[in-house]
Structures are given as C-alpha cells and as structure tokens.
C-alpha cells in the first residue's frame, strides 16, 4: 500500500515536470545583435563604439523569468570605433589590454521581472581580470518563429539592454575623466532557439 502510494506520487511529480514549460535555450545571433558603448569625449560629445565578435547564449522562461540565465563572451580585440589607429590604441595596455585579457565576460547571477515586458539582470562582468557586479535594465521585445521561410520557423527571442559602468572600477583609468569614466552600454540581442 505504502509502495503503491510512493509510485503514485513519483508519477504525479514526473507528469507535472513534463507539463511545466521548460526554459528555452537560445544561442545569440551575432549578425543580428550588437554590443555598443557610448563614452564621453572631452565633454564635446559621446563617442560610439562596438564589439564585432562575441558569442553567448541565454535561457528564457516567460512564466518564471527568475529561472532564466545569460552568458556572453566578448573578444576585446574586436573593438571598433570606426578609426583603425584609435582601435589599436584601445586594444593596448592603456585601455582593454587585449593581448593580456583577450576576453570580456558577463554571466548573470539573478534575473527579476520589473514590468510586463521589462526586467533587471544582475550579473558579473569580468574586464581586465577584475570581476564586478553589473545590473542591466532589459526590455523583452518579442519571441516568435522567424517569419522568413529560409529560417524554417526557428524560434527567435529579442531583447534590448542598457547599463552604465565606471571603467575605473575595472582598473581602466587612462585619460579619465577627459575620456569619460562612465560608459553607457547598449545591447540589442537576438537569439535563435538552440537545438
């Protein structure tokens, strides 16, 4: 009798687990994603730059966003500010020190919902060997099968993210504050559902 009860309970749990929508896993699509930054230039303007090479994935559970997660790895050497000589300098030990620290990483540690389609992602950003907590304000844009036929209806999810960091917190203080210490980071990310 006791054994039959236990089997029944296990079957019930198993069926619930099967019925619950699991978090879907997405691989970041670099051709439709951008990691951009804005940095003050001598008080005149804010210069725009971006990283051209990055990889990453995220899991997304619309019903329980707390169970979602994000991990991104950026190639520091892929920095692009539309000026080759300046990009060389930005790769040098004055700034990103790309030869010594080729990767910049972000790994989420907590995600919370703040509105119908907004949330806050807290994670650890590692830059120049220094790891600091960073919080991103994100907007969930859409999740739907890709409308173009060549994509074979693959599920795509898209987000926008914004945050600000102080580069000096990571030991990057060259020319600050003339070249702004505060960096605004803009993320526009699309991910295709991973098989």
């Amino acid at each position: 009798m006791r054994l039959a009860g236990a089997i029944g309970l296990a079957a019930c749990i198993a069926s619930l687990a099967t019925a619950a929508p699991a978090a879907e896993r997405f691989a970041i699509d670099p051709s439709h994603s951008n990691i951009l930054f804005l940095v003050g230039h001598l008080g005149y303007s804010r210069m725009v730059g971006q990283f051209q090479e990055f990889t990453g994935e995220f899991t997304f559970d619309e019903q329980a966003v707390e169970g979602s997660a994000v991990a991104v790895t950026i190639s520091a050497a892929s920095i692009d500010t539309d000026d080759q000589a300046r990009d060389d300098h930005l790769r040098s030990p004055d700034f990103f020190n790309a030869a010594e620290f080729p990767e910049i990483t972000f790994v989420s540690t907590a995600i919370e919902r703040t509105g119908d389609n907004t949330g806050r992602i807290t994670g650890e950003l590692t830059l120049l060997g220094v790891t600091k907590p960073v919080t991103l304000d994100v907007t969930f844009n859409q999740k739907a099968p890709h409308p173009l036929p060549q994509y074979n209806g693959v599920l795509v999810a898209g987000f926008s993210g914004r945050t600000k960091i102080l580069r000096s917190d990571f030991g990057m203080s060259t020319f600050a504050p003339a070249i702004g210490d505060e960096i605004e980071i803009l993320l526009e990310v699309e991910g295709q559902q991973a098989p």
């Binding site: 080759q84 000589a85 300098h89 030990p93 004055d94 020190n97 010594e100 620290f101 120049l128 060997g129």
Partner: protein, 291 residues
C-alpha cells in the same frame, strides 16, 4: 599647472621628490647617503605611477599594475644589496633574478594558460636582454662620479617613452618619462657635486634596480602586450647601456674639463641607439590615433 596634468604627474613631481630626498641624503653622507638617494629615486618613480594611475590593489590583476610592485620590489632588493655593502655575488644575483621574477609575474596569466613555445622563447630573449642591460648599467654606474649610470638611464627612458607613445601606449610612455625625471634629479645632483665640489651619491643598486628594473619591465610589457610597439626599436633601447665603453674611449683630458664633458659625451653617444630606436618606431608607427 594642475596636479592632473600628465607633465606634472610624470616629470615635475618625480623630479621634485627625487631631488628633495637626494638633497636630504647629503645629511646622511657616505654609504647611508647613497642608500637614501636610491630611496629618493625609487620613491619618485612610485609617486609618478601613483599620480598617473593610482596605487593598484594587491594582488594586481593586470601587468601594468604589477609594474608598480615590481618597481617597489627592485627598490627593496637594491636596498638589501646596498645595505650589505654590495658583495659581488649578491649584487649580480639581484641583477639576474629581478628580470626573471618580473617576466614570470608579468606573463603569469599566459604561462598559467599553458605555455607555448613562442611565448617561452620571447620570455627567454627578454630575460637575456633585460639582464644584460642591467648588468652593463650596473658596471657603468660605478664610473663617472655617479653621473654616467643615471645619464644612460635618462637616455634609455626617454627613448622608451617615445617608442611607447608611437606604439600607442601613453601610460607606459608617461611612466618611462617618470623614470627619466627621477634619474635626472640624481644625475643633476651628482653632476653638480662633481663640478662644484660636494659628495656624489653615486648610483646605488636601490636606484638601479627600482628605476632601471622598472624601465626593463616597461620594455617587457611593450614586447608582450603591445603588438603595435616596434620590437626592433626596443632592441635599439637595449643597446643604450652598451654605448658606455665607446664613450669612455673618447679622450677628454683630465681635471674639470673631463668632469664637465664626460657625462655629456656619454649621453650623446648613448643617444645614437636611442635615436635610431625612435626613428624605427616612427617609421613603423603609421597614422596617429584620433583622440
């Protein structure tokens, strides 16, 4: 001039700190005076670093931050050698060991990730070059009333500053400038003492291992982590201490004329490889960044 001005941070402040401590060293006199003067040079370079980039946390994650502690380590090692009366074995051991420790620490992240043959070859060549340059500078430092050593260091540091700047690394350029300024204060004091009379503080191992050791580490950083810096130009900088025997062959007579002209001639001969290095760096630098 603002204290945020890079010229103040890396030239005026290090020069003033070194000159002040070197002047105070006059009160101590003798070997203690030389140790204090060395302390002044080491302290001046560290002050320049701190003003420019702040005191890095310990342990420092980045190689540029490790530089601060390597300068301090060089000073400490030099202090031990000077305080012990510079016994030859300990003296040379310090000159050989400091570059080895510096290179392993600077490249620790790469070594830890699984050392590759090209990296090991580069580190081996760097160690040989850094050790040979420090060894030559140590030999030269005991000659010329304590002016020759700092004069060679000024030339090498100034050359490195320009090569680093042309190689797109302003921080390392400015730190090289701080080393030149700190060595300049000691050179000026010893030069004046050799001409108008007074006690020269020489160029003790504390000054040598902190300032020249720091400069050698800067060159290593340029080779290891700055692909845009000309490695060929850095070979020219490496040759600066080896110019001293050639300069010594130039006859300047004796007495006051020799004392006045000798450091100038040494610096002028040392400037030849340094200028060649700057020329090579300029030709290979390309367009300046648009800041």
């Amino acid at each position: 001039m603002s204290t945020d001005d890079p010229v103040f941070q890396t030239v005026i402040a290090p020069f003033a700190v070194a000159l002040a401590v070197v002047a105070i060293s006059q009160l101590a006199g003798g070997r203690r005076g030389q140790i204090f003067a060395g302390l002044g040079v080491a302290l001046a370079v560290l002050v320049g670093y701190a003003l420019l980039a702040g005191v890095p946390r310990f342990p420092p994650p980045a190689s540029t931050q490790k530089l601060f502690y390597l300068i301090a380590l060089g000073g400490l090692l030099g202090l031990v050698v000077d305080a012990a009366g510079r016994p030859p074995l300990l003296d040379r051991l310090a000159v050989v060991a400091l570059p080895a420790v510096a290179l392993v620490w600077l490249a620790w992240r790469q070594l830890n990730a699984g050392p590759e043959i090209p990296l090991l070859v580069t580190l081996g060549l760097l160690w040989a070059g850094m050790t040979a340059a420090l060894w030559r500078l140590a030999d030269a430092s005991d000659r010329g009333a304590g002016v020759t050593g700092p004069a060679l260091l000024i030339v090498a540091a100034t050359g490195t500053a320009v090569v680093a700047l042309l190689g797109r690394t302003a921080t390392l350029s400015l730190l090289s400038g701080a080393i030149a300024a700190a060595a300049g204060a000691l050179a000026l004091w010893n030069y004046a003492a050799s001409i108008i009379g007074g006690s020269s503080h020489g160029f003790g191992r504390m000054a040598l291992l902190a300032a020249a050791g720091g400069l050698a580490a800067i060159c290593a950083l340029l080779v290891l982590f700055t692909p845009t810096a000309s490695r060929l130009a850095l070979v020219g900088i490496l040759l600066v201490p080896f110019s001293e025997p050639a300069a010594r062959r130039i006859r300047l007579g004796s007495g006051p004329t020799e004392r006045i002209l000798s450091p100038v001639v040494h610096a002028a001969v040392a400037a030849i490889p340094a200028l060649a290095a700057i020329g090579i760096a300029y030709l290979s630098s390309g367009e300046a960044p648009a800041f």
